[in-house]
């Protein structure tokens, strides 16, 4: 049984703008899937239709046998605890500490009052600390989030999602605002999460080279339709052209020479780690 099944999902905004048209996908457990495509192709909308931050106009979304698009509010909240989300702009509460932000990942499991008061038991606190330590943030635990660098903020975002103990992570352009070395750290963490913790990762990306390097599978979207679905090895200049159109072709082609297994142009050295 697949973890996630998207069947004929369409999303139409304001009765005229078609964001998604008849998307069908299956995603298995532990898969690392990148979704690439030009801006406005519907990548973000697709991710948000999965945890119903956006309601699809038609079609069905199944996650662990739950039909998400028909769940009542309370059940939807329970299912959402199983789906972590990571954002381009991190979306942390900047005035709170790193620790408090990470613990927000538990809110879906708590009673209203405990969540309101910010009461977390010792198991939750220990788990939060362990995740932060695993992401290399043990020095920053009690810093306020607005004192962190972009790369550190994104790791806090990932920690928050992981503390949900999710089955799946939805990452909406997690490295679009980061410099190359921070980007590499974030992608390495995501890859480790999918391989070692068997958590499915669905990642929207703008960087074709990154998608090729890290993914088990790449989905290309253009104008709300899936135009490519396959392993990175099958990506060719022609397919890039199909996804992005002819204009982008030449720019991406230079990056395109990278194949999986090759080193990325980012120098992966201690420098990168020290920077974060």
């Amino acid at each position: 049984m697949e973890l996630l099944e998207i069947r004929d999902v369409s999303k139409i905004y304001n009765r005229q703008t078609v964001a998604l048209s008849n998307i069908s996908l299956n995603v298995g457990e532990g898969e690392f899937v990148s979704i690439i495509g030009p801006s406005g192709a519907g990548k973000s909308t697709l991710l948000r239709c999965i945890n119903r931050m956006i309601d699809p106009s038609s079609g069905a979304v199944f996650f662990q046998q739950n039909r998400i698009d028909q769940l009542p509010k309370k059940k939807l909240r329970q299912v959402r605890t199983q789906i972590g989300m990571v954002f381009q702009h991190y979306n942390l509460v900047n005035r709170l500490t790193v620790f408090e932000n990470v613990l927000h990942g538990r809110l879906g499991y708590k009673s209203t009052l405990a969540g309101v008061l910010g009461y977390y038991d010792s198991f939750e606190r220990r788990a939060a600390y362990e995740i932060l330590a695993a992401l290399g943030l043990q020095e920053q635990v009690f810093k306020r989030c607005d004192q962190l660098s972009g790369g550190q903020k994104q790791r806090v975002g990932i920690a928050r999602a992981l503390l949900q103990r999710p089955k799946m992570l939805l990452c909406d352009e997690p490295i679009a605002s980061l410099d190359p070395s921070s980007s590499k750290i974030i992608m390495d963490h995501l890859q480790r999460i999918s391989r070692e913790m068997k958590i499915t990762c669905l990642v929207n990306l703008h960087q074709v080279d990154v998608a090729i390097k890290y993914s088990d599978r790449i989905i290309g979207i253009r104008n709300g339709e899936v135009v490519f679905d396959g392993p990175p090895a099958q990506i060719t200049p022609l397919i890039i052209e199909q996804i992005y159109g002819t204009e982008a072709h030449e720019l991406i082609l230079s990056l395109e020479t990278l194949q999986p297994g090759q080193k990325s142009p980012v120098k992966q050295s201690e420098v990168a780690h020290a920077a974060c």
Binding site: Q78, G84, M85, V93, L96, H104, Y109, V116, R160, Q164
Partner: protein
């Protein structure tokens, strides 16, 4: 040679200019219609009164201690109305923020508080004076009423400035409405909330002075009214004014201090 294309026709600009032109015309006309045969005499008299008030100020019917007591009463009137108003406005503000409540509810609350705000505080106090009688009760109710509507607007606008992504992130974790309010909305907007509340406190202090005189709510405003309207002692009016200015300045500087500490 290339020519820069003409700026497209902008309706709002035309309207803005028309209105400004009209207002200028009205102002000029009014100024020309002014006539005051003994303007210089009157100005001299006014200057003399000002001199009496502010250079020869003294306490006569009032001791300094009694003046400070009046200030204390006025301050507590301001604190009470601001506190009660802030509590009410917090709840209404959450329900009036577009990113936290359904659209129909926010429009109802927003138009309701706009209606209340359109009527000045002093009128509300006088309206409540009809049912509660002139005095401190009417002043407290009337001032609280206006404070709620003022703070509801400012709070809800602060809440609306929160990044939508933060709320989305917590909803994505499965958090409930109240949890999002306490874990994200309030911590993020703490600074503007305190800031607005303090501004309203300063406004309420000045309102409370006026209420003391106009609605018989007591405090320094009543003393001011007695000095000016009853004893006709301009010098004492000046002294009380100094006292009020001093308190306002202390409030102002303490609000700046408070904000500084919160920045850290």
């Amino acid at each position: 040679m290339t020519t820069v294309p003409r700026k497209p026709f902008d309706k709002s600009q035309v309207w803005l200019r028309t209105v400004l032109l009209l207002l200028t015309g009205v102002t000029l006309y009014t100024l020309m219609q002014l006539s005051a045969p003994d303007l210089d005499q009157k100005l001299a008299l006014m200057a003399d009164n000002f001199r009496l008030m502010f250079s020869e100020s003294h306490f006569k019917h009032l001791t300094l201690l009694e003046g400070l007591y009046g200030i204390a009463i006025t301050l507590s009137l301001a604190i009470q109305t601001t506190l009660i108003g802030a509590l009410g406005a917090l709840m209404l503000g959450l329900l009036a923020a577009r990113n936290l409540a359904p659209h129909w509810l926010t429009s109802i609350i927003k138009s309701f508080v706009a209606l209340i705000r359109a009527i000045p505080t002093i009128l509300w106090v006088l309206i409540f004076a009809v049912s509660a009688g002139l005095g401190s009760t009417a002043a407290v109710i009337g001032m609280t009423f206006h404070t709620v509507s003022y703070l509801t607007k400012s709070y809800s606008e602060s809440f609306e400035e929160i990044e939508p992504g933060v709320i989305e992130a917590l909803r994505g974790c499965g958090a409930r409405w109240w949890q999002i309010v306490f874990q994200a909305v309030l911590p993020t907007s703490l600074h503007p909330i305190l800031s607005w509340t303090f501004i309203r406190f300063e406004i309420n202090f000045l309102n409370a002075v006026a209420m003391g005189a106009a609605a018989g709510a007591g405090g320094i405003g009543f003393d001011l009214f007695m000095a000016g309207g009853h004893y006709l002692d301009f010098r004492e009016v000046g002294m009380i004014t100094y006292l009020i200015i001093a308190v306002s300045m202390i409030l102002e500087s303490s609000s700046i201090q408070l904000k500084k500490r919160l920045e850290l």
